[in-house]
Symmetry: C2
Subunit: 330 residues, 2 copies
Amino acid sequence: MEFDLIERVHSHCAHRRGDVALGIGDDAALLDVPAGQQLVACTDTLVAGVHFPDHTAPEDIGWKSLAVNLSDLAAMGAQSAWALLALTLPDADAAFVERFAKGFADLAQAHGVALVGGDTTQGPLSVTVTALGWVPRDLALTRTGARAGDAVFVTGTLGNAAGALRLFLPPQAGTAAIHGKELHGAEGGGGLLRTRLNRPEPRITAGLALRGIASACIDVSDGLLADLGHVCAASKVAAEINADALPISSALAASFDAKTCRELALSGGDDYELCFTAPSARETEVVEKLARTGCGATRIGRVVAGSGVRALDANANEIEIGHVGWEHFS
Amino acid sequence: MEFDLIERVHSHCAHRRGDVALGIGDDAALLDVPAGQQLVACTDTLVAGVHFPDHTAPEDIGWKSLAVNLSDLAAMGAQSAWALLALTLPDADAAFVERFAKGFADLAQAHGVALVGGDTTQGPLSVTVTALGWVPRDLALTRTGARAGDAVFVTGTLGNAAGALRLFLPPQAGTAAIHGKELHGAEGGGGLLRTRLNRPEPRITAGLALRGIASACIDVSDGLLADLGHVCAASKVAAEINADALPISSALAASFDAKTCRELALSGGDDYELCFTAPSARETEVVEKLARTGCGATRIGRVVAGSGVRALDANANEIEIGHVGWEHFS
């Protein structure tokens, strides 16, 4: 039965790669990593009611389960190549699997990712994806290279996913366990925000463009302050964010007041934009290069000596944010 | 928090590998696959109450979650190298994590496997491991190479894990959802069987020894008849098993009558022995080589033209087995 379900996902992934010597159907996959490249590997789990609301569309769960992993590859500057899918389902729901497969395959095809292995088990709904890719030796983007004097950038816009949760879910439910049907029942101005929550775009192309330019990089999954904090800790530096420079989508601006938008942009998780540092002198190059990748990049602050991340208003006063990021078991 | 839990598992894995350019602590791991080798990748999930009884010791869950994946690498003839661990826990239970980590690390160290990535999430207990290794190009053992005239072999002994379930769990619970405290409360003659259920030994060394010898290979996770059936289907051949030749441990023989032992050996899952085919003329070479790996190998039948797997008694009459293997959602 294991192969039946995975095969159905696989059948939607029309993309075939010459570097898959043996794909689904044996005990393991056989894969050719190109010469001179380092393998890049990561894994992430989505649990129903924790990482997505219980009534999220199966297509969106499929998409997002792959997206959060491709986003980790993007943050390393890696080229995505292959994925393995471990799907746990309460029962053999063929319609669910078909729809899940469609969403997963849509994103896989967009990035030329081949599904090369998997496992289907019975249990409470959860999805673990392992994403594999590669990067030329010494060109990987890590968290450790930020230096005082570097500029801090972010791709795209921030706070959209958190905005969607706030619009469509009861306020207290956005932090720990998330439930509710509203997310799919309601239409209107929040459509764009909801798309960013359910169908995040992994910034693979941006990550590739940043090879040799960014000094450090991370994807924004827990929230800007939390994730930039990881970069600062790993690089042994501090960062100052100019809150007025934060890129806000017009959809977010149309749904919340300016203060809330800023808060969502600083602490809302699940955006899967890249936050990275680069020498200040290369700002123009960064902005031009990332404009060509489609998502764009905005300079939002600077790296300084010290530790921690501070968000400053126009008067250089620190902004206090209650909820920083999204921590499980916290 | 994600890194805290994974770090605790990692801290137990003292084994460090030179081919891990960047391990846990960034968005993804950077790994060096040796030149001339193909990457081998697989993933498997264990769900509480489905793949192990609810009250299984955390150490055993840790061990087994890695073992079932290393077993898939073994079945490909691969050298194991790295693992990623996605752990879903109902709550941040430090004692559970410590004990889980210990069991996982015990097996990882035994096989020189480095934990290079992971994710911790909140939800019903389940574990997904991705195992990575390599094999020289064209030396992988697959399911497709069995030819009529080949002999069928199995490593070790069969039916032990199923015997443990039958001894320590209510009979009807052994098939679908498995529960019960008995598995750990009871001591006695079943100790060896229980060890085989909770701490299966992935046959990595045997798989390596079979490169260039075995024509097809699979690990026995669903039961001999079911798994050999996968080989036959993939190779477009049939197989005949000589039931009297099935290797039975003395612990199993001491716990059940001969007929039950045979049944458990033919259809019981979770043994994680290797079942493989090889030219009959190489039987002596196979047996000698695998004796040196510690687990040994027994010739149990032959590959013939046709389709399906038949188990024959001493009079060449087919043995009917009710329950073939262990299928989820079946």
